[in-house]
């Protein structure tokens, strides 16, 4: 399990969080998560592949644009 840097906002119900993750392509992926899947500045995600600069992560939920997996720059990974 990896901690991936994200901007976290409160969601519409108590345990809901809205996470914004910057992808390797520079876009911002939005995903609705439970509080247990997030920290103050990160989300929990699983690495599934890696290349020279980027890591492919699988998110705990599908993003608003329909992706379960997004490439992020490896600098976005806070702890492995």
């Amino acid at each position: 399990m990896n901690r991936v840097k994200a901007k976290i906002e409160r969601g519409s119900i108590g345990s809901e969080r809205i996470a914004y993750i910057t992808t390797a392509g520079g876009t911002r992926a939005e995903v609705l998560l439970s509080a247990a899947q997030t920290g103050t500045n990160h989300i929990l995600a699983v690495e599934v592949a890696r290349d020279k600069n980027n890591v492919l992560i699988e998110l705990p939920q599908e993003t608003s644009s329909g992706d379960w997996r997004v490439w992020v720059n490896k600098k976005q990974i806070l702890r492995e």
Binding site: V48, A49, E58, E62, S64, S65, G66, D67, W68, R69
Partner: protein
Amino acid sequence: MILTDREIQTFLATRQINIKPKPDLVRYSSTSVDLTLAKQLREWSFDQIEKTRGEIITPGPKLRYSKFRDKYTKKINIPTSKGYALAPNAFVLAWTHETINLPNHSRIAARVEGKSSLARLGLGVHVTAPTIHAGFEGYIQLELCNHGPVSIRLIPGMPICQLIFEMTFGTPEKGYSGKFLRQTK
């Protein structure tokens, strides 16, 4: 038993599942793979429906679906840039961009299901017929319906549905006949 991403990729590599074009790594989740929307869809021809108001379809052996479809729907090529705005309560027939083949002997069947990101907007992708049977080959037809209050823009190539693969308990009868039909001593 549902196949995980690793098993799906193994089955693709050994051609026990065939998906063309092959999905990119980002199209997988732990237990499914996304398929994308093709450029063509069929929308209802309301002029024709108005002309034949009162007609009742009788499902059964006398129904010629292809004639029914050609009479009541028209083919649309979705503009890549503008997309197709699916109005609230609208229902169209669409297809996946990818073709699927599940060889009988693979002992694999699948289900096509919606994606939560689109479901939250109100988009349904099938009308109670999600099963992709062992032996299936072709594009997957989608019955897209907007159950939400706001129009949804459909763009060719967008992830539109997901496939969940399941192993069958045994080999279907037709799998045996296909596999061993020309076997000689």
